[in-house]
């Protein structure tokens, strides 16, 4: 499915590589609109640039950049990938590669909040599976799915390093500890269930 994006990115010197990917993956989908309008705001661009001086190479600013964009836009679209690549002067395929490797980065739109339930050993021993099932029932979705109203995406993950509070789950930046099945509904309906309990640093955020 990435073939069509990649054809767009053919640049001198990289042609050969990228065409192979295109041939191997996708011959059918129409190419992405070449005239897609920019999606990164000036503020996001500034933010990304502010990370560059931290590292010896521009490419090293990529992970922070992807966090910034995902925080601002919810996901990293092909157009955004292209623009990030332009800012950091790297091949867009390198951006795509990273998004594929790291589970927290997404090229697909997600729910407004992401629930991550721990599935590792301590939480599992303390009833994590029941919590997961309760959430699935409550939201009517399965793992990796998003509620039809776009409110929540449900994920599971290995140990969240809060094992003494198991079973636990993360909703965006807030850790919910010692969750019991009867707490699930209350937690899901709490509008502040994703807000950290400490003063927030704006390092990865853009305030327009």
């Amino acid at each position: 499915m990435y073939g069509r994006y990649i054809l767009e990115w053919v640049t001198p010197g990289l042609e050969y590589n990228l065409k192979v990917v295109w041939n191997a993956i996708d011959r059918i989908s129409p190419p992405l609109e070449a005239t897609a309008s920019p999606v990164l705001s000036q503020a996001v661009r500034e933010k990304i640039r502010s990370f560059i001086s931290r590292y010896e190479t521009q490419r090293a600013a990529l992970l922070p950049a992807l966090h910034v964009v995902q925080n601002a836009l919810g996901h990293i679209s092909p157009q955004a990938m292209k623009e990030i690549a332009g800012l950091l002067e790297i091949a867009p395929s390198k951006v795509l590669d990273l998004i594929g490797f790291y589970t927290h980065l997404s090229d697909q739109p997600k729910g407004r909040k992401t629930i991550v339930v721990c599935r590792s050993i301590s939480c599992r021993l303390m009833g994590g599976q029941t919590i997961l099932e309760t959430i699935k029932q409550e939201l009517g979705i399965d793992e990796h799915q998003t509620t039809p109203d776009g409110r929540y995406t449900l994920m599971t993950e290995e140990c969240l390093a809060a094992c003494e509070h198991g079973p636990c789950m993360l909703i965006d930046e807030r850790m919910h500890k010692l969750v019991q099945p009867e707490d699930v509904r209350r937690i899901l309906n709490d509008p502040n269930n994703d807000k950290p309990q400490v003063p927030v640093s704006g390092l990865y955020m853009v305030t327009d």
Partner: protein
């Protein structure tokens, strides 16, 4: 087991301990000021004399590691490993959220000793609140002139940045961490060259764990001989132990490394016994990767050397999870095998395929369609992967091998019992599907 005043957790419970002024009022940053009056080589010497063994899992002495840096270097990087993702470990998290300045002071001391030009704190992305806490502490430290240019008029400059990960266990491996900071997949590198010679951006690099660095202010303040006087020889200094699972008081506790697994579970200073007085069936005492103990092996001491005598890989992260009598070992096997199969980065064939096979077999056993020979196959697969036979790039596959081999071998009778009691026909049905 000797009781002692908390050292690493001495600010736990102190109001506003994350604030610079409060940290200072409790003696904070005095060790760093003392350090600045010494030469870097003297600091390395002191840490070497303290025999500070790395708390990140491998137990390698920090002072010795710093000594591997080439003498004629101009740029040095310090990477702080705050990727803590080994189930069931959370001691780094506790250190960061209760006392972020202790870590920053440790970074300053390590940075000075290694003449580092920049320090990168690699933090797993799930540490959200911890990131905000540490970033605030860092902003405060910068404002007080503790980082940046010409620190405290010493002529030495070091920047410090937090670099957030994005959800990959393998980025905790030191060279995977380096790759990840460089903006690449967190794929561990083939060693040598070791990071001390060619690490981040190809420059000499030191990677240390959060807890290792948190020991430094105390070593510099009170001296190496004070440090070696704590706990048993060869495993000196204070250590954080985690305990979780069905115990009465799960948590992170500080002690000397002469406590036993039994103490950790039952002692009133630590776990305070099993919930509902259940029996202990088994314990993973040092993170999953180190392997499992049976309920009869609880006398193992939690130091750097005793675990090997129980067939384990090492002390690991000193984080124990207790499995009680009601838990089905097949479910434990499934959970453990899944972890490694999902987190293998896939570069080495025997790790990628081996963890995948073991997960599939574990799934079949857990579904009640195991065969007795599956237990042998599991053991055999674990023998053929890892750095120990010299096949893998990193230690993840050794961890997978130990976690699964010790479980299958030490609980073999129980596995066999389950397999013998399965409904007839399950195996045939499952294998038809699989093949």
């Amino acid at each position: 087991m000797s009781r002692f005043e908390p050292i690493l957790l001495r600010n736990l419970g102190v109001p506003n301990a994350t604030d610079l002024t409060v940290y200072r009022s409790r003696g904070g940053y005095q060790a760093f000021e003392k350090t600045l009056r010494m030469t870097p080589d003297e600091v390395v010497q002191e840490v070497r004399a303290a025999d500070l063994r790395g708390r990140g899992g491998a137990g390698f002495p920090a002072g010795v590691k710093w000594g591997f840096l080439p003498k004629d270097r101009t740029i040095t990087y310090l990477c702080v490993n705050a990727d803590e993702s080994e189930p069931p470990t959370f001691s780094n998290r506790v250190l960061i959220e209760t006392d972020p300045h202790q870590l920053l002071e440790g970074i300053l001391i390590a940075g000075f000793a290694t003449r580092a030009t920049a320090a990168y704190i690699y933090m797993r992305n799930e540490f959200a609140e911890q990131f905000h806490i540490l970033q605030h502490a860092l902003d405060q430290a910068y404002a007080a002139g503790l980082f940046g240019h010409h620190i405290q008029g010493s002529g030495w400059s070091m920047e410090c940045y937090i670099h957030r990960g994005a959800g990959a266990y393998i980025c905790g491996e030191e060279t995977g961490l380096i790759e990840s900071i460089e903006g690449k997949r967190g794929w561990p590198r083939i060693k040598p060259p070791f990071p001390a010679v060619a690490g981040l951006f190809g420059k000499p690099t030191v990677v240390n764990n959060v807890e290792t660095l948190c020991c430094l202010p105390h070593i510099m303040q009170r001296g190496a001989s004070w440090f070696t006087g704590i706990g048993p020889k060869g495993s000196s200094g204070p250590k954080l132990f985690c305990i979780s699972g069905p115990v009465n008081r799960p948590g992170c506790y500080e002690a000397t490394m002469d406590i036993t697994v039994r103490d950790l579970i039952y002692h009133r200073d630590f776990g305070q016994g099993m919930q509902n007085e259940k029996f202990v069936k088994g314990v993973y005492p040092g993170g999953l990767s180190m392997g499992v103990l049976t309920g009869e092996e609880l006398d193992m001491r939690m130091d750097f050397d005793d675990p090997q005598r129980y067939g384990l890989l090492g002390l690991g992260t000193a984080a124990a999870v207790v499995i009680d009598e009601d838990t089905d070992v097949r479910q434990v096997l499934l959970n453990v095998a899944r972890f490694f199969a999902k987190e293998s980065c896939g570069q080495c064939t025997q790790c990628r395929e081996g963890t995948g096979w073991m997960y599939k077999i574990a799934q079949r056993i857990a579904d009640g369609a195991g065969r007795l020979q599956d237990l042998d196959i599991l053991s055999e697969v674990t023998q053929s992967m890892g750095m120990m036979p010299g096949l893998s790039i990193c230690g993840l596959s050794d961890g997978a091998a130990y976690a699964i081999r010790t479980l299958v071998e030490k609980f073999r009778r129980e596995f066999e019992q389950h397999i013998r009691n399965q409904k007839p026909g399950n195996v045939e049905r499952a294998l038809n599907v699989v093949n």
